[in-house]
């Protein structure tokens, strides 16, 4: 870990940075997993579960790395199952609860199109471990985006009801999209160390991609909104605690339980 060796402040920022990425994938994967058995068709059930497994796979790599950076002996499981909500650093968007299928698609599409830009940039990271994880995740994300953007267009361009409902979901979730590109001191330190990209610079290509999809889907882009949520700083909506209660119950009730 040359970065950590150089500067302990940088090391702390890198740990936080990796946790944010890992937690976002973990929480979104958990949300998608809850669709298993409930999706509108068997094939979609499998499709969402596949996305969930990819995301949880990303989370495992990232949280394992975070545990090593932290150096306090916590592994991926300790970080996933034994932290409380304020210690989670996922994007607020990822923790928003499942509603109808179209709502899940909008949430997924917003994050997929963001991860597409982010992982592309991170695959060139000065941190070799992060670059390798990003390169692997990028391949998965390309498929996720294909899946979610396809559905967005299908629903937006579908029946009157499907368009109305997916537009409502978009209007509901759009307020969380500001957080995707809002850099704080952690992002700035990572950018200065060539570990991470300038987050704001990802906004333009993301926006262009999003606009093109919305055009194809005949959907309206909601106006930009200020956002009071800062999931990546540990300030979450109430929904994360409920998600964690379910996700962590087994490990909390039966510590170190084995399959």
């Amino acid at each position: 870990m040359p970065l950590a060796a150089r500067d302990p402040r940088l090391a702390a920022a890198l740990l936080r940075y990796v946790l944010r990425l890992g937690d976002t994938s973990l929480v979104l994967g958990q949300r998608l997993g809850a669709w298993v058995g409930h999706a509108p068709a068997l094939e979609e059930d499998l499709g969402l579960a596949n996305l969930a497994l990819d995301l949880i796979g990303q989370a495992r790599l990232l949280l394992t790395y975070a545990g090593e950076l932290e150096g306090r002996g916590r592994d991926e499981d300790a970080l996933a199952f034994l932290r409380d909500a304020p210690a989670f650093a996922n994007l607020t968007l990822a923790e928003q609860p499942n509603q109808d299928f179209g709502h899940t698609i909008v949430r997924q599409w917003l994050i997929d199109s963001w991860q597409l830009e982010l992982y592309q940039a991170l695959s060139l990271s000065a941190d070799a471990r992060l670059a390798a994880i990003a390169a692997k995740s990028l391949k998965e994300t390309r498929y996720h985006y294909r899946f979610s953007s396809g559905w967005l267009v299908r629903l937006g361009d579908g029946t009157d009801e499907s368009r109305r409902r997916v537009q409502e979901s978009l209007d509901d979730l759009w307020r969380f999209s500001g957080e995707l590109f809002a850099a704080d001191e952690v992002d700035e330190q990572m950018q200065a160390a060539a570990v991470g990209p300038d987050l704001a610079s990802l906004a333009a290509p993301w926006s262009a991609r999003v606009d093109e999809d919305l055009r194809q889907a005949s959907l309206r882009r909601p106006p930009a909104q200020p956002y009071p949520w800062h999931g990546k700083r540990g300030v979450h909506t109430e929904h994360l605690s409920h998600l964690l209660a379910e996700m962590q119950h087994l490990q909390r009730a039966y510590p170190d339980a084995r399959w």
């Binding site: 509108p40 068709a41 068997l42 094939e43 499998l46 499709g47 596949n50 498929y143 294909r146 899946f147 396809g150 299908r154």
Partner: protein
């Protein structure tokens, strides 16, 4: 919901150089979704490197009721099987 979607037949090529083989069918609203479903349903364990999907309605099949007329006439023509030749020992791969 999926019952409203048309049926597609799925063909998977397991390795480069091999032919696509019929592996099953699935419902999808359109061709793109059919490819995605086929990927999720039939290639989860690295079964393939290429997928074809064909709308089932586009497949023209022989009529089982005509099976006798179509296939019985071949039954008494065993001489069409190349089993009446002595194979020289030098021929290894036949």
């Amino acid at each position: 919901m999926s019952n409203d979607w048309p049926l597609f037949e799925v063909f998977i090529r397991s390795r480069a150089g091999l032919e696509h083989k019929h592996v099953g069918s699935l419902h999808a609203a359109d061709a793109r979704m059919a490819i995605e479903h086929a990927r999720d349903v039939y290639t989860r364990r690295q079964e393939g490197v290429s997928i074809w999907v064909v709308p089932s309605a586009q497949i023209i099949a022989s009529d089982p009721g005509e099976a006798e007329a179509l296939f019985e006439p071949a039954r008494d023509k065993v001489y069409r099987h190349p089993t009446f030749y002595d194979i020289p020992d030098e021929v290894k791969n036949l």
